[in-house]
C-alpha cells in the first residue's frame, strides 16, 4: 500500500460525508477535510466556539478576529449560518445533534478506545478543550491519523498507553 499525503487523507475522508450532514472537524489534520468537501453537497460545519455554517478563511487583510474557529483561525460565515453561545454549542455536540465528527488521534485501540488529548508525559501541561465532548456526542466519529508515529510505531494498538479521551468509541470506518 502506498503512503498517502495528509491532503489525500483529508480528501478521502471528505468523500464519506453525505449531503445534509452537520459536521464538526477537530483541530489539525481534520480541519483540512473542509478543503475537499464535494461542491455539490450542502454540508454544514459546526465550530464549538459558537458557529454553524462555517465558511472558508477570509482573504488576507479581511480577517475579523471576532469571527474565528475552534483553532482560533479567522474564518467566514456562510449565508444562512448563525452564532450561538457555548451551552448551546455543547448541547449540539453532547446531545447527539452532530452527525459526524472528524478527530485526530495519538492512539486508537482495536476495541475503539481513543486517546487524542494528552500524552501523559511528566511535565506536559494538559489541555483537553472539546475533545472529550466531541468524541462522546456525535452520531458517528471518524478518526483521521497517520498509521505510524515518527518513530515507526503503530498508532493502532491493542490497548492505549496514553490517557483516554473516551473508552470504547464505536469506530465507523478504518481505511
Amino acid at each position: 500500500m502506498s503512503r498517502w499525503s495528509r491532503e489525500q487523507m483529508a480528501a478521502r475522508v471528505a468523500q464519506d460525508i453525505p449531503e445534509g450532514a452537520y459536521v464538526n472537524l477537530g483541530i489539525g489534520l481534520p480541519t483540512k477535510v473542509a478543503d475537499y468537501l464535494p461542491m455539490d453537497r450542502e454540508i454544514l460545519l459546526q465550530s464549538e466556539n459558537g458557529l454553524l455554517g462555517m465558511g472558508p478563511a477570509p482573504a488576507a487583510g479581511e480577517e475579523d478576529w471576532e469571527l474565528i474557529n475552534a483553532g482560533k483561525q479567522a474564518v467566514t460565515l456562510l449565508t444562512g449560518g448563525c452564532y450561538f453561545h457555548h451551552a448551546d454549542s455543547f448541547a449540539m455536540m453532547r446531545g447527539g445533534h452532530i452527525d459526524i465528527c472528524v478527530l485526530g488521534a495519538f492512539q486508537v485501540s482495536i476495541s475503539g478506545d481513543l486517546a487524542n488529548w494528552h500524552t501523559g508525559e511528566p511535565g506536559a501541561i494538559p489541555a483537553v478543550g472539546g475533545a472529550m465532548d466531541l468524541a462522546i456526542g456525535a452520531k458517528e466519529t471518524f478518526v483521521i491519523m497517520e498509521l505510524l508515529t515518527k518513530q515507526g510505531e503503530s498508532k493502532l494498538v491493542e490497548a492505549c498507553s496514553y490517557p483516554l479521551t473516551r473508552a470504547a468509541l464505536r469506530l465507523a470506518r478504518l481505511h
Partner: protein, 226 residues
Amino acid sequence: MDKSMTSAAEAVADIHDGASVMIGGFGTAGMPDQLIDALIARGVGDLVVVNNNAGNGETGLAALIKAGRVRKIICSFPRQTDSHHFDAAYRAGKIELELVPQGNLAGRIEAAGAGLGAIFTPTGYGTVLAEGKETREIDGRSYVLEYPIHADFALIKAHRGDRWGNLVYRKTARNFGPIMAMAAKTTIVQVSEIVPLGALDPEVVVTPGIFVQRVVAVPQSAGALA
C-alpha cells in the same frame, strides 16, 4: 434603574482579594480587555479565574496572570502557542490548574446560573478527568456527577447594551458571555455602545438584563468593529 457605569475602574471597584471571577472569551475573541486592565490597576490578587483558556499573548487574562494576581484557574485548554505567561507560572508552581472538558465547563457554569445542584454528564466518563468522581448509569449510559461553578463576579464583553443590562453580542465573541452572566453574583459587561431602551430589538436580545448588574461603554479597537 440605571446599570451604566462611567468607567471600567468604577465597574470593577469592589472586586476584592480572593474573589472568584469568570472571564468571558474564547482566546482573544470576547475577552473583556478593558475590564481586566482596570482589575490589574486595582491591585487585587489571590483570584480564582474561570475562562476557557489561560491567556493569549500579552493582553487581557495573560496580563493578569503575568502580574501574579491569579491563584487558581479553572479552564479547558491552557496550553497554546502563545500561553507563555501561564506556562511560566504553572511550571514555577505559582498557579493551580483545574482542567475541565469544555462542554462540562459550559454545563457547570450553566447549572450554577440555572440553580441546579449538579449535573450528570457523559463527557469524561472513564478518563483521568473523572477519577474519584461519583458516577451513575442512566438508561444504559454512563455519566459523571459534576457540580456547578459559581463566581462572585463575571467580566464579559458584549457588543451593545442598554441601561437595564440587555445585551447583544458580536459573532463568535459571544461564546461564554451569556452563561457566565447567569452564573455570577455580580456581572460586569463592557460594550462598544450603550444604546437607549428600546433600541435593541426585544426579539434578538441574547442576555436579558436581569442577569447583568453593570454595563460600561469602552473605546473599541478599530479592527473589532470592522
